[in-house]
Symmetry: C2
Subunit: 428 residues, 2 copies
């Protein structure tokens, strides 16, 4: 009997998920040709609804926090889950900023008229239905949904169970905006259950969902990438490197590594490894270590680095491929740029790497040879961010090479199609 | 003992495949910054080597054909496997045409200078290592490898076992070209065994291979898509539709459907279903059926189509989602453009669809609402081809929406990265 009950429950969950997917697909078909003005109106009205619903959202968040207290959550997780008036206002402002971005849909990127008279246009269209799987950060509910909507996509959101009540309250405000703008409320849906099996089913709905975007820790992203039958836009680790060349300006090097490591340690563009050209170990690395340690950073170094400062702990093999997301930095002396490039190729995650040097030729070699989404010269890796790149909000930084690489903003949430206009042409 | 032997063989195959992947990755690193002139020189010298090796390639092909005779192969498969002087010359010309294409690598697509002085460039780079899995068509060995090389990628080729000898002989000619141009011969490699397990291993080598492109029948592509841990650029079926609207010019409609269905029936851009607006069933569909049947096409129609011509056989439910790749056409009368669009959304494969009409507004509605890689007005679906689009050779037509949609040419075999040039900027 138990088997039969479980099986009925499974069928019911599968049916529920199928219906969710179908509604999203129908909404996407409507959104694909929705005017920019309607999408922007929905975003602005959703921002207003979020402000008006502040008390409701805070109450829902308190219920989430009460439930979470009994669970095994770190202080950082609790912090990400917690909303206050300022964070809710930031969500509303975020929606308004997305409304102000240019609409990528309908942009004709190329036009060619062929000798036979066919006129062929390459035009931006929405991707369709986007599934977003994230951890317990309620603000992602608003941020991700806004980017999807602006690009004409329907979104299916699956946030962490700890933020379920907060997300539901935020979604209600978004629905208010959609409805008032005459757009289908199914354009933004949440997976209606916290049953973990629902994620597994979601990842098989390739007949409705065009792309899955996981946002969160490495284990979440790896699970999604290995289970999904739907293409995944992912970023795995951000193991970002700063390489200080023998021709580096010492003031720039000191400022850049301090900022790249410590401005915010929890972002994916934070530096995790510092590589220093051996000839400037004493002149450049020693003051950098002093700066970093004075600012509270733990240093794990190779033998040569340990020899320069007794406060340096030994780095293990694992350190070179670890994204600390914390005030810890691995440090190694290398024999010139080519060893730095080889180290990055071996241990890096193809996210963001920066060289500090005054030698233009060395800089160009680094920019050309390092195979990362973002390569920088004389700049902090913490600039790896859609906003800093001028694209407005982003949904993440892709370290894959297909479709989108680097910051994924509104434009990267679109595809294209070819429109061919003829006058009766047939192919010889 | 048998188990232990099998296990040793498995390990040896795994080690062999790993070494293959590593060599491809190393070659890709070298190719990424190879000058355009070197890549073109390799292609031109490979073309010369193919011509010089004609006798050797034909002898290898005869050995393949002798082996194939004992196997269960259709006449079409034998035809695709068979080489002659003209087909070898066409391969050589194909390599020369790819050499003449513009090099996409290094093109700066966007430049922005931020208020803080950072100069951010979006620049085209190769994808890296491309795995190509195809059936027994020896010419694909040259065609696919040439496109990969031009875009700066290393290629790992896995053709059907029936064409193994031919492919090896063609690969030897390509290697001659690479070597003479000073490029690594590992830039184009074949999987060195016909062991089917090798494909399974290939699809797990995500640490070396950036993208897998399957070329072949539906079952091959579905196997690859479901097994691969590496992103796949695929096209599944080309179930292409022609919709003849009530405002269609009858002469255009007759010429277009005849060409779209019968010019070549084995290409993915061939029409498989004709939808006709009910009011012009008698005036337009009847003469179209006469044309098609006179030209040897079998018609499978719905009830209304059968009522118009006794030679029409009944269409089953399966017919609407079948890619015949043969002189067979399914035909249905519909109530206007919206029913046509709904039919295409239900049964189509998002490849190529064409509307025949003189009504500009109806045409625009079709172009906007049909969610396919290529949407056409008053043109034959057989124009769905990279060459006809002006991109030169193509590796296939993608029906996915991520990365590349429609014809996949040299430009679509690249990715991009961001180059950021600063003067010491740190993020506030």
């Amino acid at each position: 009997m138990a088997v039969s009950l479980a099986s009925t429950a499974d069928q019911s969950l599968a049916a529920q998920m199928d219906a969710l997917g179908r509604r999203a697909r129908d909404a996407a078909d409507q959104l694909a040709n929705a005017p920019t003005a309607a999408k922007n109106r929905a975003l602005l009205l959703a921002a207003a609804a979020i402000r008006a619903d502040t008390a409701k959202i805070l109450a829902a968040n308190r219920r989430d926090l009460e439930t979470a207290t009994g669970r095994d959550m770190t202080a950082a997780m609790i912090d990400r889950l917690t909303l206050d008036g300022a964070r809710i206002e930031a969500m509303a402002v975020g929606l308004e900023e997305v409304a102000a971005l240019p609409d990528p849909v309908g942009i004709v990127e190329q036009v060619v008229t062929r000798p036979n008279g066919l006129r062929i246009e390459k035009v931006r269209v929405p991707l369709g239905v986007i599934g977003i799987i994230y951890e317990s950060r309620p603000n992602v509910t608003a941020d991700a949904a806004a980017l999807c909507l602006k690009a004409g996509n329907a979104a299916i959101l699956r946030g962490g169970s700890e933020s379920a009540q907060s997300s539901a309250a935020i979604l209600a405000a978004l629905a208010t905006g959609l409805e008032a703008a005459g757009l289908p409320t199914d354009a933004i849906q949440r997976v209606p259950t916290q049953d973990r099996a629902a994620v597994g089913i979601l990842l098989t709905l390739d007949k409705y969902i065009d792309v899955i975007i996981p946002r969160g820790g490495k284990s979440l992203i790896q699970r999604v990438a290995s289970e999904s039958r739907i293409p995944v836009l992912k970023h795995l680790d951000g193991i970002c490197h700063v390489y200080v060349d023998k021709a580096a300006d010492i003031a720039k090097a000191r400022a850049i590594i301090l900022n790249a490591k410590l401005r915010r340690t929890g972002v994916c563009g934070a530096a995790e490894t510092l590589l220093v050209d051996r000839p400037v170990g004493a002149s450049h690395l020693v003051p950098m270590l002093n700066d970093l340690i004075a600012a509270g950073c733990e240093i794990r170094g190779d033998g040569a680095t340990q020899a320069l400062d007794t406060r340096v702990r030994p780095a293990t093999a694992e350190d070179w491929s670890t994204e600390y997301l914390a005030p810890i930095l691995s440090v190694r002396l290398v024999d010139g740029i080519d060893e730095a490039i080889a180290h990055i190729a071996t241990y890096g995650s193809q996210h963001t790497e920066s060289i500090v040097t005054e030698d233009a030729e060395t800089a160009e070699r680094f920019l050309a040879r390092v195979d990362s989404a973002i390569v920088m010269h004389n700049a902090s890796t913490q600039f790896a961010d859609g906003g800093e790149f001028g694209m407005g909000a982003e949904i993440g930084i892709s370290t894959g090479k297909l479709h989108a690489r680097g910051p994924v903003g509104v434009a990267e949430l679109t595809s294209y199609k070819y429109r061919v206009r003829g006058t009766g042409q047939i192919r010889p």
